[in-house]
Structures are given as C-alpha cells and as structure tokens.
C-alpha cells in the first residue's frame, strides 16, 4: 500500500520535473524554463537526479572504487577504524559534510606504493560480495588516485587540476536544505546526536557508497518526531523542540 502511495507521489513529482534543460539561447536576457509535455522516447526520467528518491539500495558507479571498509572498518575486521569526520571533515560545523580533496587522500597515500598494495587483493575486495572491484577503466582505487593526483610517488602536492568527479548517491531535491552540522554535532552525552550510520548505513562495512535510506520526506519526519536525542538534549523543552522540528521551514527555504 505504502509503496503505491509513494509511487503516486513520485509520478506527480516526475511530471512536475520535466523541465527542458536548455530552453534558451546564451544571449537571451530573460530566459524562461519550459515544460516538456511529451518527453522524447527513451529520455531517462526515472533514475536521474533526485527522482531516484524512494528507492533504497541505490548505487552509483564511482570513478574511483574507494574502499570505505578498509579505512573506517573496525580494526579487528582488518579496517583502520578511522572516524568518518576524519575525511568528511566539515560535517560537524557546516551544512555540507564535505568530500576530501585529492590532496587530502594524497597526504597519506603518497607513502603507499600502489605496486606493493596491488598484491594485497584485500584492498580491492568488496567485503559484501567478496569480489575484487575495479572502476570502469579496470583500475583499482590507488592507481586511479595516482592519476587524479598526478604527483610522483613521495612528492607532497598534487599537480593535476581536474577534481575527482564523484557520482552523487545521496542527492536531495534542491528545495530541501539538509544541514549535517545540526545532526551530527555532539549532544549532552558527548556523542553525536545522530550517528552517521543512522542515515548512511554501516558505511564501514561497505566498499562504495550505497543509499540505504529512502530520503523521502516521511522518512525525515519520522526521525524528527521521535528520535531519542531530542529528549536527551532538550529535557523539558523537548516538546517545543519537536514542534519546531516539524516546521516545514526546518528543511524548505
């Protein structure tokens, strides 16, 4: 039942979202968008952009097969137990969690010789499938990193100008403004109010980013209504806080 209702909603949203990307010429002074009533056959309307909302387990082929498990996995599982915020460093104080710069990777990886680590298949094995993952051009993560960084092994700074074109997995519609810092900032107990895993799933056990939540409005609201951290941190004020959290302005501006 719920699925059907979601689909109805998405159907409407889709129809509303058929905007012509290039309706105007570059020298137009007052460009206007246009609706496509009869979309050309074969135009991909479903998987594109935020219209994939509502299908969990949504994975994007990534240009660099970064292995989350190896980095943030628990040490006993052969990971390095790194904090998420070590790389996604702005999550605590900004709306955007931030993707590490190529240099950010290189700071560590300039010491790691791909040739050596190539022999250790564990680095490229997807812990879930147990298969060795390579990107579209058949390269492993470190080789790809070397390409994008363009620096000689051991040299400190990257030289290549092109950033890594990651594919976005958690893509909210642009009219909802999510703020990481409000969620992961530390609560009264010194722990993050919301653990990264609550929304992003057990990234530390995965290889590539994968969406485990529907990211639909209802999903957000459920949390805003009865997430324990509200009581923990607002005590007597928690009722008021909950009411505030249900204000549409919380996300839509």
């Amino acid at each position: 039942m719920k699925i059907i209702l979601i689909l109805i909603g998405l159907g409407g949203a889709l129809l509303g979202c058929q905007m012509d990307p290039e309706p105007y010429t570059a020298d137009e002074a007052f460009p206007k968008g246009q609706h496509i009533l009869f979309p050309p056959a074969g135009a991909d309307h479903v998987t594109a952009g935020h219209t994939t909302l509502g299908d969990p387990d949504y994975i994007e082929e990534q240009p660099l097969m970064f292995n989350h498990a190896i980095h943030s996995g628990a040490v006993e599982d052969g990971g390095m137990g790194m904090e998420c915020t070590y790389c996604h460093s702005t999550a605590r104080h900004s709306a955007s969690a931030g993707i590490p710069s190529t240099q950010g990777c290189w700071n560590c990886h300039k010491q790691i010789n791909p040739a050596l680590s190539m022999n250790d298949d564990r680095n490229w094995t997807n812990p879930e499938t147990g298969e060795v993952e390579r990107n579209a051009s058949g390269k492993g993560a470190l080789e790809t990193l070397d390409e994008y960084c363009g620096a000689e092994m051991g040299t400190p700074t990257c030289v290549n100008e092109d950033p890594i074109p990651w594919n976005r997995v958690h893509d909210l519609p642009d009219f909802s403004h999510f703020n990481h810092s409000m969620h992961v900032r530390l609560g009264a107990d010194g722990e993050p109010r919301v653990e990264c895993q609550e929304c992003h799933g057990a990234m530390q056990e995965k290889m590539v980013a994968e969406r485990v939540s529907s990211l639909l409005m209802g999903w957000c609201l459920e949390c805003h209504q009865d997430h324990p951290s509200v009581d923990e941190n607002y005590g007597t004020q928690s009722e008021l806080r909950r009411a505030e959290l249900k204000d549409c302005y919380t996300c839509h501006k």
Partner: protein
C-alpha cells in the same frame, strides 16, 4: 397530445437516433473545432506557464474562474427541473427535464476542468484530495477550495446516477426498437428492464429517493462555490449575501441555457408535440422570477456596501459602475436586469424567436456577472499602490471557446445516442392503448 399513441411517442422521440441530420453533423464538427482551439491554448499554457494568459497581478483569478462559476451555475437549472420540480409534481417538467439534466452533467463536467486549468502546477492538483501519503501531509480543510473539491465531485456523482436512473426505462424502449449490436448495448445499459409492475415500484422508489438527494445539492453546491469568494477578505467578495445570490443566479442562467438548447432541438427533431409553447412559457416565467431575485441581490449588495461605511468596500462598488470596468458592469446589468423584463409580456414569452434571443442575452450577462465579481474586486483591492486594469488575452479566450466546444460536443453526442425526452413520462400523459382501439383499427 391526445392523438398520440405509445408507439408514436417512442418512434418520434428516438427518431434522431436513426436519422442522420446534416445540421447536427455541422454543429458537432464546429464544437470539436472549438474544443481543439482550447486544447491547443492549454498545451501552450502547460509548456510555458500561466504567464501566457493575461493575468495581471494582483488579479490572480480571471477568465478561468469566471468560466468555472458560469458552468457550475448552468448545471443547477437541470437538477432543479429534474429533481425539485419532480418532488413538487410540476407536470411541465416532463418534456424538458431529460435534456436539462444532460445539460447539468456536461456543464459540471466542463466546470470541473477549470480549477485544474487555472492551477499553476496542475500536475499536483491531486494534492487537494485527502489521501494518506508518506509525506504525512493533508489538505487544509479550512480552505473553501477543498470544500469545492468535495462539493463538485459529489454533485457530479449524484446527478450522474440520478440521470442514469431516469434513463433506464427509455433505454429499454430504445432497445426494443434497435437491432444488432445497438440492441446489445442498450440491453446492457437498461439493466434488463422489462417494465413489470415490480420493477416500476422499485424504480419509482429509487427515483424519488435520488430526487430527494439531489434537491439539497442544488442549494449547497453553488453556495460552496460562492464561499470561494464570500470567505475571503477582498472588498466586493466579503459578503454574506453571496450564497442565495449565487444560487438564484445559477438557476437564472441555467434556465436560460435550457431554453438555448431546447428551442433549436425542438425544431430540429420536430418535437413540437412534446416541447410545447406551454413548456417554454413556464421556463420563461422561472427566468423572470430568478432574474428579479438577482436584481434585488445586486441592489442589496450596494445598500450593504454603502451602509457598512467601509471605504474599501464602498470604493470597489463605486469603481464597478464608474471605473475601468464600467463597460462590463453595465453589460451585466442590462443583460441580467433590463432585457429579461421583456418576459413580462406574454407575446415575448410565447415567441420562440424572442425567447431564444433573450436566453442568449442572459447567458452573456451571467458570464459577465462572474467576471465583474472577480476581475473588478481584485483589480481594485485595499492598496491603491497595487491597482491594475486586467483584460483577458487570446489564450484565455481560446480556452473559454474550448469549454463551449467541450460542452456542446458531449451534448450533441448525447442527443444522438439517447432519447432526449423522457419517453416513459410522456407516455403517462398519453391515453393508454385499449382493446377498443384494436377493434376500430
């Protein structure tokens, strides 16, 4: 009708179903042409946005809502005639009620298009219906527009059912006259009607029941529509007189539309025996009555606006007859209050030519009444800094034309496939066939 026989009646009334008529064909083609004009305009509007219409803020509602109210209004006369007059046993309804009821259905069908047409993002119009969704959002039950949704959809359903019930015996009669595939269709549609006493007994009960059910709708639906205006603070809208005033107006325009439809039908299908001057005179009298009520309502509006001593309200009411829209206002007054006075004369009431002309005038007048209420009030709201002068543009007019095309297409199709006069009820007024007759013939 005394010289009529049952067989003759059936034959006359379902004649149009068999005999193709050039005039009818032309009319149908014209209607479809108009419809396609409207469809094209709507396409442009969907692609480029409502901006293609002539809206001039703060006039946010224009021709579309005007036309919406117009068509809803048209609908009412049908229900009045078929349901209320049935309960009051007004015999003259017999000849006219089937056509006017059909008019109701198609008018409401047309009206229903406009709220969607005028919505900025009509592809989300379904949000107005209360249905459980993952967003945990509901419509705002305080909003008259939501009441509208309920009112209109209820009205459409109930009157459609009532209409269908009325058709059952006649479709049976048709079934007995047609051959081949048609027989099957009518057979299915008339739900195996055989006209036994038992069936008649249940039938009359059901018909009476639905007549009773429709009666309050005649009042309620247009009252709800009028609340779209009365419930808001806009000067010229914010008035308690609106519901009765709208209902009266609705019936006024509806009767006019019935005249507009029946007079040509009568001559086209040679139904002089069934649609007699007597019928038309009754309709004319109804117009006269409702027209008088309407005129009174206009006057009351002005009195209240003056008496309220509210400069904003009074400002609007002064603006209507004297401001930019004076032409529309006086057009409305002359069409709705002055010309119909001619109906006081029996000569006019009994002359089909004059009735037809006056009915057209009233239709125009009633459309402009709604235009006056909507455009003038919005163009001249509280803050003079925002005053504008709005005029509809080609797109809006195209869609208006389209709506007429849409309405007449359905109606013309209807008269071709269904008996447009209630056979069964006509027969009630015909002397039943007796053995004696068989002997003499």
């Amino acid at each position: 009708m005394s010289n009529l026989t049952y067989g003759q009646v059936t034959k006359d009334i379902i004649r149009p179903l068999f005999k193709p008529s050039l005039l009818h064909g032309l009319a149908l083609v014209t209607a479809i042409a108009c419809l396609s004009v409207g469809a094209y305009c709507w396409k442009l509007q969907l692609e480029q946005g409502l901006g293609v219409a002539g809206y001039e803020p703060p006039v946010m509602w224009g021709v579309y809502i005007t036309t919406f109210v117009f068509w809803v209004g048209i609908g009412h006369a049908g229900t009045l005639i078929s349901a209320i007059l049935f309960l009051f046993r007004a015999r003259w309804r017999t000849g006219v009620y089937r056509a006017s009821e059909a008019m109701t259905i198609f008018a409401v069908l047309t009206a229903g298009l406009f709220p969607i047409l005028h919505a900025g993002r009509c592809w989300y119009a379904y949000w107005l219906f209360p249905y459980p969704n993952q967003r945990q959002l509901w419509p705002n039950f305080k909003s008259p527009l939501v009441w509208d949704v309920f009112a209109i959809s209820t009205y459409l359903t109930i009157s459609a059912i009532f209409f269908y019930i009325g058709l059952i015996p006649d479709m049976a009669a048709t079934r007995d006259k047609v051959k081949g595939f048609g027989k099957r269709v009518y057979g299915a549609l008339c739900l195996g009607w055989r006209g036994t006493d038992n069936q008649w007994r249940h039938y009359m009960a059901a018909y009476g029941f639905f007549a009773a059910l429709c009666t309050p709708l005649v009042i309620s639906v247009h009252s709800v529509v009028s609340w779209d205006f009365a419930m808001s603070s806009t000067p010229g809208w914010h008035s308690t007189i609106f519901p009765p005033y709208f209902v009266a107006g609705a019936i006024f325009s509806g009767c006019a539309m019935v005249l507009t439809l029946l007079i040509p039908m009568r001559s086209l299908f040679k139904w002089e025996d069934y649609l007699t001057i007597w019928h038309f005179e009754r309709l004319a009298q109804l117009c006269l009555l409702t027209g008088a009520i309407l005129t009174y309502a206009y006057a009351t509006e002005y009195f209240i606006a003056w008496y309220s001593d509210n400069p904003y309200e009074w400002g609007t009411f002064i603006y209507r007859p004297t401001g930019d829209y004076a032409w529309a206002f006086w057009l409305m007054v002359s069409c709705n209050c002055i010309f119909p006075l001619a109906l006081w004369f029996k000569k006019v009431r009994t002359s089909l030519k004059w009735l037809f002309i006056i009915s057209l005038i009233i239709n125009v007048g009633m459309w402009f009444e709604r235009f006056n209420i909507i455009a003038t009030s919005l163009a001249h709201m509280f803050d003079p800094g925002a005053w504008v002068y709005y005029l509809p543009n080609r797109i809006e007019m195209g869609i208006l034309v389209g709506s007429f095309g849409w309405f007449f297409m359905w109606f013309l199709l209807f008269v071709k496939v269904m008996p447009s006069v209630a056979i069964a009820e006509i027969k009630e007024g015909v002397r039943p066939p007796l053995k004696a007759d068989e002997v003499t013939t």
